[in-house]
Symmetry: C2
Subunit: 159 residues, 2 copies
Amino acid sequence: MATTTRTTDRGTAYFPQLAAERLDIALCRASAAVARAADVHAAGEGLGVGQHLVLQMLDAVGPCSQQTLSEELRIDRSVMVGICDDLEQAGHVRRERNPRDRRSYAVTITDSGLRRLAEAQASIPAFLEDTFHTLTPDERGQLSAILVKLLQADTSSSH
Amino acid sequence: MATTTRTTDRGTAYFPQLAAERLDIALCRASAAVARAADVHAAGEGLGVGQHLVLQMLDAVGPCSQQTLSEELRIDRSVMVGICDDLEQAGHVRRERNPRDRRSYAVTITDSGLRRLAEAQASIPAFLEDTFHTLTPDERGQLSAILVKLLQADTSSSH
DNA sequence: CGTAAATCATCTGCTGTCAAACAGTCTGTG
DNA sequence: CACAGACTGTTTGACAGCAGATGATTTACG
């Protein structure tokens, strides 16, 4: 006895069985792993994931209120405050009051922000390839389509 | 114009485009939605998600150390302490020192725990059906297979 | 035997996220 | 105009998750 190979001698691990039975748990665990990888990548890049998404959206659709950013990026309002604080302090974004509705801001991307965004964007394909390299192109397409359906179901129910 | 449906008049929403480009973000957002649904369901059931998983694993593989439970269920050790505390206080689990290695516990499910588990298990199929009802059986199988591949890649790299 | 290293459960501190309350601003109705 | 209600951004408090340190116990080695 006592081959002492620790967990390996417990015969079959339990987790694969759980992942097969509980689709929700498998989804959450996989998401946590991917989120961690994204955080590591973002830390190496020096730009947080949320900050990157905000710059990307501002570049794509033009100046926005924090509210719109929060809703479209699925980031809580109170979290968005800190993200915009950091971006503004770094000079990547300007916060100007919308003259037509002084409750809201018109968050605008600066030239510095555009350059930073281009820099960060360049590293995304390699990150995605690295994170999902175990999946075939077919599987990536399937996953994308499935997630879109799940997300549509969520937004329609939470509305 | 000016139908005032708020976000709808902003033309095309940005989120679908983001979800299509960034598979990692789509995965995390979908996971968050599913996790929220699971928490709501668990709260209604009166048994936390983690507690449920622990009971289920104990029933499937027999008494375990907290360490083994943590590793197989992908729940942090320090979180497992609280889960076992709650289960023990509720009488669903006993914590006895493993006589062969008194550093570890032999966490054992009680009759009360078995009954509680059976009760909670009964509501899981309906929860899964409700959460993933937008997916066809084919898509659920695809999703399951893809998540298993992602999770295997994670465990092999984190090893 | 005795001491050092390893292991298990626990605790502490930190980070990130969410819910709820708050102040400032706008809209609508009399 | 005045005032009630809604909306935007911010702050606060609570909580999960994780890394690292600690105490108790076991194992390995001289």
